[in-house]
């Protein structure tokens, strides 16, 4: 299964939804698509709830993305649901709790708050 990237504008934030597998095979392509969506956004919400599988290559991509946005001062939240493959892998990799949100609403609150 290949991964899909869709995005929509939500206020000043860009809401980017990922679906399918984010792994060693799909990370390069999805990474490029995410970067093109992120460009110029005031804030980024990355919805990973529909991701069926996340491996270390996907984690590396997300890590790099967070680092870049932090440097630019652009807030980012990862929406990972209460359970599921994305949350499991990211928690295993000890992503900062403040980066993770259960749903989009919570993530949006986190940005404004």
């Amino acid at each position: 299964m290949t991964g899909q990237v869709t995005s929509e504008r939500m206020g000043r934030a860009e809401l980017i939804r990922l679906a399918g597998d984010l792994d060693v095979a799909t990370a390069p392509t999805m990474g490029r698509e995410i970067v093109s969506c992120v460009r110029g956004a005031g804030a980024v919400l990355l919805d990973l709830t529909a991701v069926a599988f996340l491996d270390s290559a996907g984690v590396r991509l997300l890590d790099a993305l967070v680092a870049d946005l932090d440097r630019l001062g652009t807030p980012i939240r990862l929406v990972v649901g209460e359970r599921g493959p994305a949350r499991m892998t990211l928690q295993l990799c000890a992503f900062r709790d403040d980066l993770l949100a259960v749903d989009v609403a919570e993530a949006a609150d986190g940005l404004t708050g």
Binding site: D23, V24, A25, F53, D55, S56, L92, C93
Partner: protein, 825 residues
Amino acid sequence: MSEPDVTHDVRLPWEEDPGELYDHAPCGYLTTLPDGTIVKVNETLLSWTGYTRRELIGRRRFRELLTPGGQIYHETHYAPLLSMQDDVHEIAFDMICADGRRLPTLVNSVLGRDPAGLPRVIRTTIFNATERRGYERELLAARRAAEASERRVRVLQQIVADLAAAPTQAEVAETVVRAPGPAFGATSSSVWLVDEHREVLAAVAGTDPATGTGDLALDSAHVVAEVARRGDLHVIGSVREAEEHFDGMASEMVRVGRSTVVLLPMTTGCPDDPAAAEVLGVLGFSFAAPKELTDSELRVVRLLGQHAGQALDRARLYDQARRREDRAVFLVETTHALEGTQRLTERARRLVDRLVPEIADWARVWLQVGADGLTEEAGGPAPDPDRLAGQIAAVAVSGEPDRDAAGLGCVIQPLVVRGRVLGTLALRPTAALRRVSEGAFLTDLADRAALSLENARLYEQERIVARTLQRSLLAHETPQDPRFLLDTHYQAGARDLEVGGDWYDSFLIGPDRLAVVVGDVVGRGIEAATTMGQLRSAIRALASAEAGPARVLQGLDHFVERAENARMATVVYAEIALDSGEMTYVCAGHPPPLLYEPARPPRYLLDGRSAPLGSRSGRTERIEQRIRLNPGSRLLMYTDGLIERRTRPLDRGLEVLATEYARRCDAPMPGLTAGLTDLLAGREHADDVCLLCVALGAEQRLERSIGADPVQIGLLRQDLRGWLATNSVGDECAQAVLLACSEAVANAIEHGYRDDPFGVVDVTATVSTEAVEIRVSDRGTWRDAHVDVARGRGLQLIRQVMDHVAFDRSDGTTVTMRRIRRDQS
């Protein structure tokens, strides 16, 4: 009796003066000395010649009165004969008279000798031979004239025979141009032909310098053009005549050394009605020496003009007939070439390739299809693009052909079908086609091309509809159940064939019964796709827990009686009891399904066979076969496109399929059917190919081998996920195993096979009630994973999610990972 005394003169009744008799005798008398000096001459000779006696007596010798030829004859014949035999008779001499006239005479001379025998005097009588010589001359002239006439007639007969055999205008011209030399003694000659549009006189044969050898406009002032317009014979007898009537001609005649020129129109039609005659060409010939043509020669010249004209007319009709035939053949062949393919683009391509270079040096077809239209072009150079675009647009709107598109040298024909302009055909005709009138031909060509292209367009339209219909029918969700795994593949024929009637289907009958179908409807296009949809629905409707496959087929036979297009469709249909693993199958005229069971080579299931649906000649008693499938079995059903190839017998195709299937029996299920299609049929396969593979039962042990390609990891994960679910492994544990396995395989690919794209990674998974164990092996060369931070994170993840991890790097690398099933405890 006494005889009259002949020694005495008869006494005349009147006084006869001897002198009078001498002077006025009916012949001339001349007495000369032996050297020819005239000493006595009578009045008769003086009156004939116009000399006076004083001019001759003692002043002139006889031979001096003769023509130069006569004087020579006098020396060589007359004088020696006379001195040898003392007399000569009837010698013909022309005497020169006082005024220079010639007087033909016959001369008799007698040589008188003295008693010593020496020549003393020559007495000569001279008879006037004017009349007799004139007669002889006439006779000779008449004979010469007859000979010349006969020669001309012979030449003319030969020419007429040659003309009759000349099939083309060019050959007629070649024949005619050879005539004036032998027939009239002409020095040189040329032939011009009037072109079909009656605009140009084309110089086609000959090298006559006086009349010229270049093409002329028919309305030019040149004398040849004038003759062609007027249609009468022109004889320019001398340079002086030319100066009077044809000014340009005179200087040309002087320059090239010609004294007489004849210009003869070659005409068709009735000689009695010159107004109705049509001039088809002009024959010009000229003479270096002055030539006066006799009446009989002029008659022959005119006759030659008529014969040549008729021959040209016949050749012209013949040329036209042949050209029509050539064009008809060209049109038929073009239509045929276009019909060689169904596809629109390919047809357009073939059209321009046909036209260039045969009838055009550049051609472009443009069709109003799709958003941008479709253009195919051949030859070159292309005309000015902007002007061309404008003209093409104008023709597309008006629907009227443009015979000379704004001076581009092109013809633009609209492609019209049923009153609708489909597009345009622009072409620049070859010089040969331009010379003849091409309007009707090009219109015919455009009409045929338009019809063919329109058919292709309709075909494309139908093809798209049929494909869409077929895709929508095949796109149904396949049933999901942990007890089986399905993989399907449909590949449309790559070539320009219409959509086929191949299909697959799978559905559940009740909670524990899976039905799988692959079928193939006879025929192509929308009808086949529609029929396929009907059969598919019919099978779903007929299948029930009670019926079973044989009853389903009987029902289909019944259905076919009402759906004629479905007749002779082939179907393989199987129902699998998911609880017991028992499969019941039927095969109606379809290639046999291929079964793989763990630890056995694949085998074809050749039972349960009967004839295609609705067959009238085949065995239609529907029988079904039962077989128990072990867990881990994989059943493959397919259509004949997979195994049939023109270059390979069917048996061989089945063998190859079995071999390749065996080789893939441990490959991940997802992508299995696509891989088989790629290998056996190839992407360019002409036919549609349809496959369905179902893997059954919970394998205790999952063994897979995948290539060193990151994309394969995703396929393996799907397989593994299904296997974990089949074995009721809990979600959290399954997630952990999937992550660890993926990371391990990624490691093997990225490190073990960094330099080997053809490496293979073996994955083995076993499950027990306590734990899941995964083993990932490669045969590559491992590098220190800690050097790579990213891979390091992968290893870290493995260690985090698995309870036990062990590396063995003795032969390649084997990672063994174990996860306790907490969900079970």
